[in-house]
Symmetry: C2
Subunit: 353 residues, 2 copies
DNA sequence: TTGTATGCGTTATCAA
DNA sequence: TTGATAACGCATACAA
């Protein structure tokens, strides 16, 4: 026998104990002003000593809301949480949401979504709103948006869809990265990205890079964006080719820190010193950016803040369902560490002759 | 205007459309056997075309349950999810739970718990059960256990508390580690642990180590457990002292992979080769154990399985609240990689003379 | 086989 | 200021 089967207290128990009606108890509970100070006090005491708490299901049914926000990831929690960035984001989200009296429901239902069906909790009124973390395919999104349940895209942005979005300013981040490199003398910079251009964040960073290159009057052909590779496969060959070219880049901007770490390590293995020979910049300011040798210059995104901001947005949306959708872009900041420096007077060529 | 304000469908809408009573619809929904095949078919069709789903709040209220499991972490999601081990565990948990029709509610309420109050969702019937991931202080646990809501401790174990527990077999893991080292010739082994002996998992691993050492007829004084240190502070000095001792250990068993990586890197920095001079074993089989150089010999814990098993346990508990509590210990397996090898014929002393 | 009616626990309306 | 009561959406005991 595990627990005593104490019957759960209801508002009736409190009313009986206080010698009043359940209406009075409810009024006290939701502190309506028009309650006699003496009864208010008496009822409050009884509530406290009994340890009564209004039942969630009853309350939800009556109020036609649940004060619960659904949370979905793509492709899966374990994939997405490998990136510390998202963990901090969820922490910010959860903390703020909870402070405001909301709960977070982990949204499974990926299988249903994959078949273009709504996840169960979206069809049954189990959540008041939904937050989508990471990139979701467009048709999946469309299925979700046919609901009357508000949706927020976190760390993603669809400019032309009727949906609230919140993400970081990758355009500015890439610009800052280019500006920094140019300011210390680089004129041949390559941007490295995974081949997932449908991700808005990725495309925006690339856009920012290209625009900044043009703004500085640099040649797009010798400041290329390289993205048609699979890491561990084509990437080494691509890098080798650029290193072998005397006109090759003296700096790499990578679309995130994971890639930047990979590239830096690869370079060092080949005898290319970072930053003496070649500079490297990352994105996100993951923990690894600080602990890596050399510590990475990177574009810092305040992921905790992003999560906290998301909770605000979703709560405001709940209060004002009819307001126009909002696309919010959070500023980012370049953190200069030790993976960037002035380019060598004459950049060597690898393999060394 | 964001979404069409389509009024949510209720069972009445379906009944009207089908020209029957709501009872009939409900019976079809919960496929009670005694419904005429023709009406059953008709109602089913209408449900499908209308896209009706029973409302969660109404259902929960009527059924006096929520099919929702609360999930709490200590000290915080971000702290605990830094460890990939826990991410995989949550993945397993979430996947199985969802398959069985349950939802996962992220339990905030740490502040309340810290003040020895129950988290809100535990007092209001918002969840049917609670899963605690990681180590919680005993008095916190006691507060939680006074509820009639079932609790499951995941990756932790309290032998004498009336609470279901599920964790890995650290005792066996440490034994296997010692056996392996002894079998390849080691006779001087030290166990390294953080100074958090109140964690059952930690204490159990230490117990397993001590018992195995004794079983092999080895001297406990030259096969010590070292735990009174803060990493980055006292630990280097402790290791240095052992290395300087000609009778010092030829192998370290570390209480987890993070520590093992730290120790290995420190040793290599000092010119101590792993495994030629000294062997190192970790615990958990984190990703880092595979990617580290050299790859770590470690005690593998199937964290995904642990999570999946937890979901089973909690569901069974829900079905049989009166059954005696269960303490379940999942087997572990030593994975031999490249951080262990035969000890040197004569172990050098560091600093080298 | 199907329909009627009740109650789950709450909030809110209206009357007293 | 307080109380009686309806309604939220559903499942089920019981009646038909």
């Amino acid at each position: 026998m595990i627990h005593g089967m104490i019957k759960r207290l209801t508002i009736h128990d409190v009313a009986k104990e206080a010698g009043c009606s359940i209406a009075t108890v409810s009024l006290v509970l939701n502190n309506s002003g028009r309650i006699g100070p003496d009864t208010r006090h008496r009822v409050t005491e009884i509530i406290k000593t009994l340890g009564y708490q209004p039942n969630t299901s009853g309350r939800n049914l009556r109020l036609q809301r649940t004060d619960t926000i659904g949370l979905m990831f793509n492709p899966s929690p374990s994939k997405i949480f490998k990136n510390i960035f998202y963990i901090d984001m969820m922490e910010g989200l959860e903390e703020k949401l909870c402070q405001r009296g909301f709960s977070l429901l982990l949204g499974s239902g990926r299988e249903e979504l994959a078949r273009d069906n709504l996840p169960k909790f979206m069809r049954t009124g189990a959540v008041d709103a939904l937050i989508l973390m990471g990139h979701f395919p467009e048709n999946t999104l469309d299925v979700l948006l046919r609901t009357r349940t508000p949706v927020l895209l976190l760390d993603s942005l669809h400019p032309h869809k009727e949906v609230d979005c919140l993400t970081s300013d990758g355009f500015s981040g890439a610009s800052q990265a280019v500006d920094h490199l140019v300011s210390i003398g680089h004129t041949r910079i390559a941007m490295l990205s995974y081949d997932i251009l449908e991700y808005h964040n990725v495309m925006t960073r690339i856009d920012g890079f290209r625009t900044a290159i043009k703004r500085h009057g640099l040649d797009a052909r010798i400041n290329p964006v390289v993205h048609d590779f699979a890491i561990n496969e084509d990437l080494p060959a691509k890098i080798d080719a650029m290193l072998a070219d005397p006109e090759g880049p003296t700096a790499f901007i990578c679309v995130n820190d994971t890639l930047a770490v990979y590239v830096t390590d690869y370079l060092m293995d080949r005898g290319v010193n970072v930053p003496e020979h070649v500079s490297v910049i990352g994105f996100d300011d993951d923990t690894i950016a600080r602990t890596h040798q050399p510590p990475l210059t990177t574009v810092r995104i305040d992921s905790f803040f992003l999560g906290a901001k998301a909770s605000e947005l979703v709560i405001e949306r709940l209060k004002a369902p009819q307001e126009p959708v909002r696309k919010i872009i959070v500023p980012v900041e370049l953190i200069v560490r030790e993976s960037t420096g002035a380019p060598p007077a004459i950049r060597p060529v690898w393999p060394r002759k």
